[in-house]
């Protein structure tokens, strides 16, 4: 199985241990002054116990053992079996320092430098009340100890730590051995060093405080952007001043020519104006240059500030990934697959906010990989692959993005199967399907409600498809989800997300007299095209770009804003959006420019607005809506009519043949009538049968329903038998079979699937909507 990465938990443990050790140390000091303080002892014991438990959780067995032995001693003190002595203080301090050292060096080789054996033996001796070693060993024998600690104390004089076989301990401490205050010079030095380093390590801050700080930083970033605009304004102003000077020079020549009898007064004025204009230009140029220099200097600082501030919220992805081995085991069990999970790049860091959002999409993709990707072992072996499938989760940073690849070595996505499913479900016509490239076909899995699964179970195919995952990624994480697949060899889903959700690059554009921001990450191209390049195909406007036909749509139509006629403009600005294999060209009024923007929400009142992902505040305080790319794509495709939806496909199908008909096979009267009422309410024609045999008879008589809904346990013929009969009958096998049952065990589910059922709904999750949804999806 997967190696369990404890690094993230160790960090958490270290944080906790720091607090616990602090309290334990303080407790010892207080106890020395007041050895019989029972509440103090109890508190101390609780802390030691916590330390023992948490260290064991993260696999720091040495720490756990030291804590355990400290407890042993303190319990005796509490129970009056032993009096608290000054010796104990020293040993406890030493033990706590060892714990601190072990905790801080967890997972590092240097951890071996700790005098673990010495400390445990001294604690054991204390617990044994200074009695001979035999007693100490016996005392320890009472309780189960972590295996590693079973090493019997090899000397009759446990206090002589130096006498223990300890290669790491090259410290000549024989003379101090009898004194429990073992630490020699080296350890003393170490303790000193620990003290200083502890001061510098970490400060815990509330996340709200970090967020507030980040808010302020983004205000500074906005101010900086504003300053950048001012620099441009100043430069333009300086340029105009130069222009003025040049014009003046010409006017001056003209004046001197015209006014032949140059009066002294005019001369003075001319010279004065000369001077003023010249100095004004110089001043402006200087000002522009100085300000530009200042701005660029602060810009570096602001950039660093922003980066540092963002880093405050960065956490390793392992904090999320670490729960996956367990989740994967559960998924593999659920789908009866044999799967290994390999995690790579767990220490890649990501904004905490992004991390919080990333878990669900990843789980969905992994579930998809287990369900649709990895083949059953027998199939794998037959294909010459190892019986056990492998899913790899690899994270890495690429520039200002994090890329997470979820790869499986399963069957890959079969373009033919996807196309067939798309045609069956009415997304595409046969002809359209044939013209689709394999790559385009693979993207069909991102279509709304699309599932290639041959069988619908509650776990997959319940509507949370890849479309939902992709939309979530693009909408919430401002990222992208892509798929690569090698049929027969496996698939890779690639999740690309920005390091932070707070700041993105965006293209500012104008439509209908209003400015909008469009995230640059989804723009494939911006161009100003000649009117003649726009061609009409079947009443739709398109352009040809790089040998591809890109449908065009007016952004003003998607947004429903008024916009002046653009007939007079010769070059038309078009921003081409690329989104999961689809392209669309947005016609806008004007491009304003590209810049970094700080994302803000639309406020608490407007939770979700079509086409708008949020707003940003520009330099001048102007609020600009940020457009939502998935919405634009969906709405734009609807407008251009290229949406591969049923409207187009159904035209080729025969005209509606009236209401759909279902056959319900169910022996329970109540359930039968309940199901009947559900379907009738939804406009279905309903036929019923009280068992499988009756149902099959009706089918063979030519009932020809659009779907069969059947129970499993029925007299005469079970639902499984009925399903098998239907699926092995050439005349009937096209009819979808939905099994509704109270049998929830995996074996039964598997039997249903093997029998050839198209969907399997357990009564425990049964409700009107699932039933109707499932049937509707199967018969459309």
């Amino acid at each position: 199985m997967v190696e369990f990465d404890r690094s993230a938990f160790i960090a958490k443990f270290q944080e906790e241990a720091t607090d616990l050790l602090q309290r334990l140390n303080e407790g010892i000091i207080s106890l020395e002054a007041d050895p019989s303080n029972r509440p103090l002892i109890d508190q101390w014991l609780r802390d030691a116990h916590t330390l023992k438990g948490s260290s064991r959780m993260v696999g720091l067995m040495e720490v756990s053992d030291v804590a355990h032995r400290m407890e042993d001693v303190m319990v005796k003190v509490r129970d009056g079996e032993m009096a608290y002595t000054a010796d104990m203080t020293d040993t406890f301090f030493e033990a706590l320092d060892t714990v601190l050292f072990l905790a801080e060096h967890a997972g590092k080789e240097s951890a071996a430098e700790a005098d673990f054996e010495g400390v445990t033996s001294r604690l054991a001796a204390l617990a044994a009340g200074g009695a001979p070693a035999a007693a100490a060993v016996a005392a320890r024998g009472d309780e189960p100890q972590p295996t590693r600690l079973q090493t019997p104390v090899s000397t009759a004089e446990p206090l002589q730590a130096g006498a223990l076989p300890d290669e790491h301990d090259d410290q000549p401490d024989d003379e101090s051995a009898c004194d429990a205050r073992t630490p020699g010079t080296r350890q003393e030095a170490q303790r000193e060093e620990k003290l200083t380093s502890r001061e510098q390590t970490t400060v815990r801050i509330r996340t709200t405080q970090v967020d507030r700080l980040l808010n302020l930083v983004s205000e500074v970033v906005i101010a900086q952007i504003k300053a950048g605009q001012r620099v441009r304004d100043l430069r333009a102003s300086a340029a105009r001043s130069t222009e003025a000077l040049q014009t003046w020079a010409r006017v001056k020549t003209l004046l001197t020519m015209l006014a032949e009898d140059q009066s002294a007064a005019l001369d003075v004025d001319i010279r004065a104006l000369d001077e003023v204009l010249l100095s004004q230009r110089t001043e402006l140029a200087m000002l522009a240059k100085d300000y530009a220099d200042d701005t660029s200097r602060t810009s570096t600082v602001v950039g660093d500030l922003q980066e540092q501030a963002m880093e405050l919220r960065m956490l390793p992805v392992s904090t999320v990934f670490n729960t996956f081995p367990r989740a994967m085991r559960d998924l593999a069990r659920q789908y009866r697959k044999d799967v290994d999970l390999v995690i790579e790049g767990g220490d890649t860091e990501l904004d905490k906010k992004v991390l919080e959002e990333i878990n669900d999409p990843l789980v969905h993709i992994m579930r998809n990989a287990v369900d649709h990707g990895i083949e059953p072992s027998a199939e794998r072996v037959a294909a010459g692959k190892p019986a056990k499938g492998t899913i790899t989760l690899a994270a890495r940073q690429e520039g200002d993005h994090i890329v997470i690849d979820i790869s499986d070595d399963g069957g890959g996505i079969d373009p033919a199967k996807v196309k067939a499913a798309a045609v069956r479900k009415g997304y595409l016509s046969e002809a359209e399907a044939r013209s689709l490239s394999d790559r385009e076909a693979r993207y069909l899995i991102f279509e709304k409600g699309f599932s290639t699964a041959a069988i619908i179970t509650e776990i997959s195919g319940r509507g949370v498809g890849m479309d939902v995952v992709r939309e979530f990624v693009v909408e919430r994480l401002k990222g992208a989800l892509d798929v690569e697949s090698d049929f027969g060899r496996g698939s890779t889903f690639r999740l690309t997300i920005p390091l932070t959700l707070a700041i993105i690059r965006a293209l500012l554009l104008r439509v209908g007299g209003q400015t909008f921001a469009l995230p640059t990450s989804s723009i494939e191209e911006t161009a100003r095209v000649e009117r003649s390049e726009i061609i009409k195909v079947e009443g739709r406007e398109v352009i040809r770009r790089q040998r591809r036909t890109v449908p065009l749509v007016h952004l003003r139509d998607i947004l429903g804003v008024e916009s002046g006629a653009d007939d007079g403009v010769s070059k038309i600005p078009i921003a081409t959006l690329g989104f999961s294999g689809h392209r669309i060209g947005l016609i806008v009024d004007e491009f304003v420019g590209e810049q970094q923007i700080v994302i803000k929400t639309l406020g608490t009142h407007l939770k979700r607005v079509d086409n708008v992902a949020g707003v940003t505040i520009l330099g001048a305080g102007e609020v600009v809506p940020i457009l939502n790319v998935p919405d634009l794509m969906a709405n734009g495709r609807q407008l251009t009519g290229v949406r591969m939806r049923r409207q187009g496909a159904t035209k080729e199908k025969p005209v509606e043949k009236g209401p759909s008909r279902v056959l319900i096979c169910e022996d329970s009267f109540t359930t039968r009538e309940l199901e009947r009422s559900i379907f009738e309410a939804a406009g279905y024609e309903v036929e019923t049968a009280t068992d499988g045999a009756q149902g099959l008879a009706k089918l063979r008589e030519g009932l020809n329903p659009d779907a069969v809904v059947t129970d499993v346990q029925m007299p005469n013929m079970t639902g499984f038998e009925l399903t098998r009969a239907i699926k092995s009958d050439d005349a009937l096998k096209g009819i979808p079979v939905i099994i509704v049952t109270s049998l929830e065990r995996d074996e039964e589910k598997a039997e249903g699937i093997n029998a050839g059922a198209d969907a399997y709904i357990t009564k425990s999750v049964f409700n009107q909507d699932t039933l109707l949804d499932t049937v509707e999806r199967l018969i459309r």
Binding site: T601, G603, H605, V609, I617, V623
Partner: protein, 185 residues
């Protein structure tokens, strides 16, 4: 507290300050005085020909001189959003929302009247109305259920009514006004 002139003219800043001062006072009094427990603070405002009121505890501030950014494809009663010191707040046209004829729908270049920023524990919005009136304290028992004669759409938005100087004032149901938009997506 005085009920003052209801039909006060346009709101000058002085008046706004006065309104806020009185509001602060009344808020302070709610905690100080035992008797105030039996009264309700209301901020009166005019919408078309009618006078309405917001419960004072829902009023956050009065906001002037704002620049609205229109947001496409939102309900017709949403003007857009404004930037209130870095916080993005939606702007609601209460007249359109409650289907009360009012002058809040203006041409693009016309200046908008003052907005009242209201909030509950979930949402904040700036509400554009025709005219802001006074803050009054009314005895709690004088608040009656909303008139049954109200239009159905209006009835939803009115939580109660009260007579002040012979005029019937509808108390706006802020929780209804502040229902998040597009939440079901």
């Amino acid at each position: 507290m005085t009920s003052g002139e209801l039909g006060a003219g346009s709101i000058a800043n002085v008046q706004v300050a006065e309104v806020l001062r009185r509001r602060a006072e009344s808020l302070a009094q709610i905690q100080d005085e035992e008797t105030s427990r039996d009264t309700r603070g209301l901020l009166l405002f005019r919408l078309g020909e009618e006078w309405y009121a917001f419960p004072i505890e829902g009023v956050r501030e009065i906001y002037n001189d704002y620049l609205i950014t229109r947001i496409p494809r939102v309900p017709d009663y949403i003007f857009g959003v404004v930037n209130v010191r870095g916080e993005i707040v939606s702007v609601t046209d209460l007249g359109t929302m409650m289907r009360v004829p009012s002058r809040t729908q203006r041409g693009p270049d016309e200046e908008l009247p003052s907005a009242i920023i209201v909030a509950n524990d979930r949402c904040v919005t700036a509400i554009v109305i025709d005219e802001i009136g006074d803050i009054v304290e009314v005895p709690r028992e004088s608040v009656e259920p909303a008139l049954s004669t109200l239009d159905k759409t209006q009835a939803e938005y009115v939580a109660g009514s009260v007579y002040i100087e012979g005029r019937l004032i509808g108390i706006v149901n802020l929780d209804k006004v502040l229902e998040p938009i597009g939440d079901n997506a």
